[in-house]
């Protein structure tokens, strides 16, 4: 701290020089911001301006730079100094582009700009240049759990990139579900006929690969650590347990077929001639190229009926609600087993929507060309009658309640159920509610555990505070919630791939596993450099924890959206830096404020809001603090400014990493410093949440719901703190929200807390 030297630079370009008294701003930076060096420049972002700053860093010993120019989102490269801490005061988008260019507004516009200079200087002073995670570890091996096609792909692709792999498969051989297939659906032009599966070839390649170590009949009985330093206990059926180190993990635990025993109405279990898709593969494999026989009596098969969506796309709640995406092509493939062998065998596929996207259309056409009959219909029941079955269905095209009475085989296209292990969220949710004072969920959860019912078996056995498996998104799939970022599971360094992530076919699983491996390798590399993973990739800051102040309240360990924080024996939090995504949710959660980041802390924000000049209650100049999510609300404000959408000159905006990082002390400080209100602008939460840190905005909502008491104690109206869900496209709505809120503040009057 001793050698800290803050320099403030004020740009006069883009109209800043015309609209603002930059000399006065410089004065503010000097006097109030206590900047050691203050310079104005007519065009700060050009080569000359940037060089000036660089020279000061090199020659003047500047360690902290405050740039009063445009938004932090603009000219990022020009002002991207990596050797000093940089704060940006947003004078362009934040002030002159949102304020009317007229005489009446001149004074409030200047005041706004001066406050941002004060805030920028205050922030700069409290920032430190992040030095990288000191706990960085560099184990570069990849652990792959699951030896099906997804897992084998991950292993082979990682090896090809030069990484070593430990592959753990619970059964006695590699191949998984794909290993049981007679043939696969085609993955290459001309997409006309079933192909051989790649299983044997891949298994041989793995065996021949010195980079890949395989454990068969084995599970990961315990995994602890973090990216770059995972330690996995691998228990082999023989009773041996070995420990392997890994830098990252790919979870490729696959799927199980939905249990057709749940579908007695479709004849399963009532006739040996009703099989699921796996059953048909078994028959096809067993036939070894000769005609597939009727299971009940070994008789000739002359007619096969495929029932699509069996126990799927179900809205009754009894079966799978989703579509498994691959069963249509599988049925076409299986119908071809018969048609290719003997075109005289009748094959009928009864479907409601045939779902064969992309080149699947070629495969569909090929099926038709081979004489497979497709009929849009709904099967109501399958009755067994001797060695044949009667399939009752509604032909939706001919609007005919009809039946196929003489089916020798009926194949039910049941769906994929992910092997994702324990659903850890139900417990977590209960714990969060309990932390907020509602114990009912936790009690219910405990009761459900006590009943001794069949509990799902963990896939990974993570030794994590928040539970042994990767959180599930929906229906047990461990998919990412983010459309743009499909690999963002909530466990850093653990990437799921293949049908455990979402229902998919083999070609997709292989592509998916390759992508997951990419992310895993990247996690290894970044962990080694002490850098954050997505979405703050490259961020070298990490949570710094002051243990002496900690009250062991567990809020941080429970609320961390990424399960990055464990607990030690004394229930103190243990930060696993390379599992951390730097969202600051722990910082926001901490009631005693012992968690901070070098470049983002309770102080960097707190000192900014305190730096604002709050006029007295007779000034008719209220002040409202806006804490805005830096990814959505803040860009929305920027774009509103680009549109020159005007909003009140009495607000002061501070971007935050996530509303989850907002510590209630900021609200308290703002209100006790005389602010008239606090607006928090964050992302949508709920089922379709848009928070990039998963739960940040939701947690903020929960925390703020309790702020009412504090306000009451302070003698303040509830409306003085308000939270809004804002999207990045709300460029007209956000200015409107601000103005509406200001009107409300006007209505309830100035805060009585001013001047204390």
């Amino acid at each position: 701290m001793a050698d800290q030297k803050v320099a403030a630079y004020i740009c006069q370009g883009c109209g800043l020089g015309d609209r603002l008294d930059t000399a006065a701003l410089a004065g503010v930076a000097k006097k109030e911001g206590k900047a050691a060096l203050v310079k104005e420049h007519e065009f700060l972002c050009n080569a000359d301006g940037v060089k000036m700053i660089r020279d000061d860093i090199a020659n003047e010993g500047v360690t902290h730079v405050m740039i009063g120019a445009c938004s932090r989102r603009a000219k990022t490269e020009a002002f991207g100094f990596t050797d000093v801490a940089v704060a940006r005061a947003n004078l362009r988008e934040g002030v002159i582009w949102t304020q009317p260019d007229n005489d009446e507004s001149r004074e409030t516009t200047q005041e706004m700009a001066e406050d941002y200079i004060r805030m920028g200087c205050a922030e700069a002073k409290k920032m430190m240049l992040p030095m990288g995670n000191p706990a960085a570890a560099t184990e570069r091996r990849l652990l792959v759990v699951g030896g099906g096609v997804s897992g084998m792909t991950a292993a082979l692709e990682a090896s090809r990139a030069g990484y070593q792999v430990v592959l753990v498969e619970k059964s006695g051989q590699l191949g998984g579900w794909a290993g049981k297939l007679h043939k696969r659906t085609p993955a290459k032009s001309p997409f006309q006929s079933p192909q051989d599966t790649p299983v044997a070839e891949m298994a041989a390649a793995i065996e021949a690969d010195a980079n890949i170590k395989v454990y068969l009949n084995a599970i990961t009985s315990k995994i602890q650590g973090a990216p770059g330093r995972f330690e996995a206990e691998i228990s082999v059926e023989s009773g041996v347990t070995v420990t392997e180190k890994a830098g990252a993990i790919v979870q490729a635990t696959g799927f199980s077929l939905y249990d057709a025993n749940n579908l007695p109405e479709l004849g399963y279990g009532k006739s040996a001639n009703v099989v699921d898709q796996a059953g048909l593969e078994t028959l096809a494999t067993a036939a070894k190229g000769s005609p597939i026989k009727r299971p009940s009596d070994g008789g000739e098969v002359r007619k096969v009926v495929f029932v699509q969506c069996a126990g799927q796309r179900d809205d009754s709640g009894k079966h799978l609600a989703y579509c498994s995406g691959s069963c249509c092509s599988t049925s076409v493939k299986q119908a071809m087993y018969f048609k290719d062998a003997n075109p005289d065998i009748d094959t009928v596929v009864i479907y409601t929507d045939l779902r064969m996207p992309g080149n699947g259309e070629d495969f569909y056409r090929s099926g038709q060309d081979k004489g497979v009959i497709f009929t849009k219909g709904k099967v109501s029941s399958v009755e067994a009658a001797g060695n044949q079955c009667k399939v009752n269905f509604h032909d939706l095209i001919l609007n005919d309640q009809t039946a196929i009475a003489n089916a020798d085989l009926v194949v039910l296209a049941t769906g994929q159920v992910p092997n994702s292990g324990v659903d850890i969220d139900s417990k977590l949710k209960a714990e969060i509610a309990a932390a907020a004072g509602d114990n009912s969920l936790l009690e219910a959860y405990n009761a459900s555990q006590a009943e001794g019912s069949v509990k799902p078996v963990s896939m990974l056995n993570l030794n994590y505070r928040q539970g042994p498996d990767v959180p599930q998104l929906k229906y047990g799939f461990t998919d990412s919630h983010f459309i743009c970022f499909p690999y963002e599971t909530r466990r850093t360094g653990i990437y799921s791939a293949g049908p455990v992530r979402r229902p998919m076919d083999m070609a997709q699983a292989m592509e998916d596993a390759t992508g997951a491996t990419m992310k895993a390798i990247q996690a290894i590399e970044n962990a080694g450099l002490g850098r954050a993973a997505h979405p703050r990739s490259g961020d070298l800051s990490y949570p710094i924890f002051r243990k002496e102040g900690c009250t062991q309240c567990k809020r941080c360990t429970v609320e961390c959206p990424f399960g990055a924080i464990d607990e030690d024996e004394q229930r103190f939090p243990v930060f696993n830096e390379s599992r951390c995504r730097r969202c600051g949710t722990c910082m926001g959660a901490c009631p005693v404020r012992v968690i901070s980041f070098e470049n983002y802390s309770v102080d960097t924000v707190g000192s900014q809001l305190k730096a604002v000049d709050v006029p007295d209650e007779f000034s008719e100049k209220p002040r409202v603090l806006i804490l805005a999510c830096e990814n959505d609300a803040y860009p929305a404000l920027d774009m509103a400014a680009m549109n020159r959408n005007v909003y009140s000159a009495f607000v002061r905006v501070i971007p935050v990493r996530c509303l989850g990082s907002v510590n209630t002390i900021w609200i308290n400080d703002a209100l006790s410093n005389g602010y008239d209100g606090v607006m928090m602008l964050g992302c949508k939460h709920g089922d379709d949440y848009q928070c990039h840190f998963v739960k940040g905005s939701e947690l903020a909502g929960i925390r703020m719901s309790k702020i009412g008491d504090t306000l009451k104690q302070m003698g303040l109206e509830e409306e003085r703190v308000a939270t809004f869900e804002v999207a990045i496209t709300d460029i007209e709505r956000v200015p409107q929200l601000i103005n509406d809120y200001m009107a409300k503040i006007q209505e309830i009057g100035m805060s009585p807390m001013k001047g204390f």
């Binding site: 005289d344 569909y364 004489g371 009959i373 849009k376 095209i397 005919d400 009809t402 196929i404 009475a405």
Partner: protein, 199 residues
Amino acid sequence: MSENYSNSFLREVEERVEEGHWVKMCMQCGVCAGSCPFGPHWAHPPQEIFMMIRAGKREEVLTSDSMWMCTSCYNCVVRCPRKLPITHIMHGLANYAHRLGIAPKGQPTEHFATLFWNNLAETGRVNELKLSLGIYFRDGFSQGIKNAMAMQSVGLGMLKAKRLNPFELFAPHGVKDKSGFHAMLKKAREIEDRRKPIA
């Protein structure tokens, strides 16, 4: 019931109906049904006929009036996403039903089409006068007179416009090589019957 949704009728159509091998390729989008100028007059539009064939509804299909509604406008053909030659399949099905003798009784287009072919086959060229008289007199002599009287103004107009020749009845247009022409058609029919035998 036992033969529904089986290959048997579909196979029959594939083997014996012009362009019948396309029927299996229909994906039931219905664009043909919506594209036909006589659409509302079809009890079963083409796409439904294709489904009926695949469902094994032989009687219903072959005795249907629907195929006879085809005006040969090719709207369906150019719009079909699977490029089915629907016009020809409809012609083929009608022809097959006609050959089997199970087309609906008194189907007017069947009657006209037969007259037309026989008319052209006789001399090698169409005799328009005989053709129209044939139409008017299909339901007997007195109805024929009535029909002809009803269309008298049209006929007279055509006559006046030199677009109808009363002498066509006696000295019709025709090819010179009648024997070669007839032998050719006879042979063609023979081959056709061999290629597409009637059950």
